[in-house]
């Protein structure tokens, strides 16, 4: 592992593999909400990691646009099997971070 790879700390949601529409929406919304970060998608079948380096933001607005329907972020729970990083959840925006 080189120095750059070691310094990367991937954070963000891990989505249930059987929930195809939410997986696609989180990837699309993640790209919109984190324009300066590379979104790394890891598909493991039963679950899919959607992550970025040290910071991952997800907004209600982008999720609604990606899904094309009303959506409150609390409704992501049935698909959110895990996450990397420390979560801060608000009504219209969830953020995962690692500081160190």
């Amino acid at each position: 592992m080189n120095a750059t790879a070691a310094a990367i700390k991937l954070v963000g949601p891990v989505i249930r593999g059987v929930d195809e529409d939410i997986i696609e929406a989180v990837i699309t919304a993640g790209e919109t909400d984190n324009p300066d970060l590379e979104i790394v998608v890891e598909d493991r079948g039963g679950y899919v990691r959607v992550q970025a380096d040290k910071n991952f933001r997800l907004t209600q607005k982008s999720m609604q646009a990606a899904l094309g329907r009303p959506f409150r972020l609390a409704e992501i729970e049935p698909s959110l099997v895990s996450f990397a990083g420390r979560l801060h959840s608000m009504d219209d925006e969830w953020v995962w971070t690692i500081h160190s």
């Binding site: 700390k9 039963g46 729970e77 959110l80 099997v81 895990s82 996450f83 009504d91 500081h99 160190s100």
Partner: protein, 494 residues
């Protein structure tokens, strides 16, 4: 009626903290049920959950989750999905169903204790959801295998296992009692929700869900991944509790709680998940090795978060934990297969020529360390000496993890020690440290071997031991493939 945004009422609805005037704090939160670590009253009121949810949202989400899994169950109920599953995979889900569903109710007791004795209202609120979550997990994971009972009597152990003294059950119950049912609310938040649920449950519930979809077991994959969505939320009781302990100068105490339970969890998951992933899951369906799952979920994801909170790696990380990733579950697997009549599933040897190549690739040195032991077993099976592949005695069991003592090399002696004149055996330095760091929690508990020596198991032989463990003939484990792996190896050699 105007509808308020959640943020406008959330804090008002959850922050029901008040200073006591008619009773003492110690009467409301006795130390035995809610160890304060010397942190007083309103210091806990800053407890703030990272994952926020109202009761209304909770009920809506949970109803949807249950609709999802039970409709999958009823859709495939009359299909032949189960019959077509790989025999090794069937063993993996039987092991899961015996070890996990009833302990979900144990976890519900731990959550209920936090729902009453958690030291902040916001925490008690989240723990109330957690209590209900764990009931859901117990119900679903007993109902699903119940539906398979007509196909295979071993599924009876989804309900029966925890009510027996089977050796693996003693190991599991010892861990779960230590962490869930016999723990105080504050330690439970650090050990159950932080260490165990933020860390280890992902291995079994997501690692196995990942393999399940590749195997084609949609039912099991959907069930356990749905459960994990509850865990992802209620595990978040750990972080704010840890944060308050650190802020109040109790980092060392919190570190010790994590170090103790990280190790105990590791041992049991190496047994359950390690064997299931690297031997029982059919080769073509394995997404990653157990070690790779550990590196991704524990060494990276869990430890990134843990260190970000200002905590340190457990003291045994380099010397004991990392080396065990390479060998301990391989040794457990060999033991479980050898003592196969003592378990409620059919151990899959998982050592055909192709599987050995995979093991050697994922764990360089596997052939030299374990392959040669399987060679002896394979020779005996080929020569028709099946009797030689069965045990005549009981193994020595560790007084901390309650798993038969294994070592990285043949002939290495267990750690024999004593406490107040009682002889104790440990598998390693860390198990000895865990036990001796709190002997008052462990010193009246007898291992299955202690019970044997005390004359509790009669007649004192394997037959008596099986009877003591509740193993009946129709459930006793046998080789999952009827030794077909060996005939294949034999054909390949010719």
């Amino acid at each position: 009626m105007p509808k308020l945004q959640r943020r406008d009422y959330y804090d008002t609805a959850r922050d029901m903290n008040w200073a006591f005037s008619y009773v003492n704090e110690d009467e409301v939160f006795p130390e035995e049920l809610s160890k304060s670590f010397g942190i007083k009253g309103d210091e806990w009121w800053g407890w703030d959950e990272p994952y926020k949810l109202t009761y209304r949202e909770y009920v809506h989400n949970q109803a949807g989750k249950d609709d999802g899994i039970y409709s999958i169950r009823s859709t495939i109920a009359r299909s032949n999905l189960y019959d077509n599953l790989d025999v090794g995979w069937k063993s993996a889900i039987k092991a899961h169903y015996g070890a996990i569903p009833v302990p979900e109710y144990f976890a519900s007791i731990g959550e209920a204790r936090m729902a009453r004795f958690g030291r902040a209202a916001a925490w008690r609120n989240m723990a109330t959801f957690g209590t209900l979550d764990e009931c859901r997990h117990g119900q679903a994971q007993i109902y699903f295998p119940y539906c398979l009972l007509g196909k295979d009597p071993q599924f009876d152990w989804a309900h029966k296992a925890m009510h027996t003294n089977e050796w693996g059950v003693i190991a599991a119950r010892s861990l779960f009692d230590d962490m869930f049912t016999a723990n105080d609310a504050v330690s439970t938040a650090i050990q159950l929700t932080f260490t165990f649920e933020t860390g280890f449950t992902n291995l079994q519930f997501l690692g196995m869900a990942s393999d399940a979809l590749h195997v084609g077991d949609i039912e099991f994959g959907a069930l356990i991944s749905s459960i994990q969505t509850d865990e992802a939320r209620h595990s978040q009781q750990g972080e704010p509790t840890l944060r308050i302990m650190i802020q109040n100068g109790k980092k060392a105490e919190a570190q010790k709680l994590v170090d103790q339970m990280f190790w105990r969890s590791w041992k049991l998951f190496a047994l359950l998940t390690g064997i299931s992933m690297d031997y029982y899951t059919p080769l073509e369906s394995r997404t990653m090795s157990f070690k790779e799952f550990m590196q991704d979920w524990i060494c990276r994801q869990f430890m990134d978060q843990f260190k970000d909170l200002g905590m340190d790696l457990p003291w045994y990380w380099e010397k004991h934990f990392l080396p065990e990733l390479d060998w301990v579950h391989h040794a457990y697997h060999l033991g479980v297969w050898f003592w196969r009549p003592t378990v409620w599933w059919n151990p899959d040897a998982g050592v055909s020529a192709a599987e050995r190549d995979w093991l050697e690739q994922k764990y360089p040195g596997w052939n030299a360390r374990f392959g040669k032991l399987w060679d002896v077993i394979a020779d005996n099976v080929r020569a028709g000496r099946i009797g030689k592949t069965y045990p005549a005695t009981l193994p020595i069991v560790c007084n901390c993890c309650h798993i038969p003592i294994c070592s990285p090399s043949v002939g290495q002696a267990p750690r024999i020690t004593s406490h107040n004149g009682r002889k104790l055996s440990f598998c390693c330095e860390v198990c000895e440290w865990v036990w001796k760091s709190q002997p008052e929690r462990y010193d009246t508990h007898l291992s299955v071997v202690d019970r044997f020596l005390a004359g509790q198991i009669q007649p004192p032989n394997l037959e008596g031991a099986l009877q003591y463990m509740g193993i009946t003939p129709e459930v006793a484990g046998n080789d999952a493939e009827g030794y077909a792996w060996n005939r294949m190896a034999s054909l390949a050699a010719e």
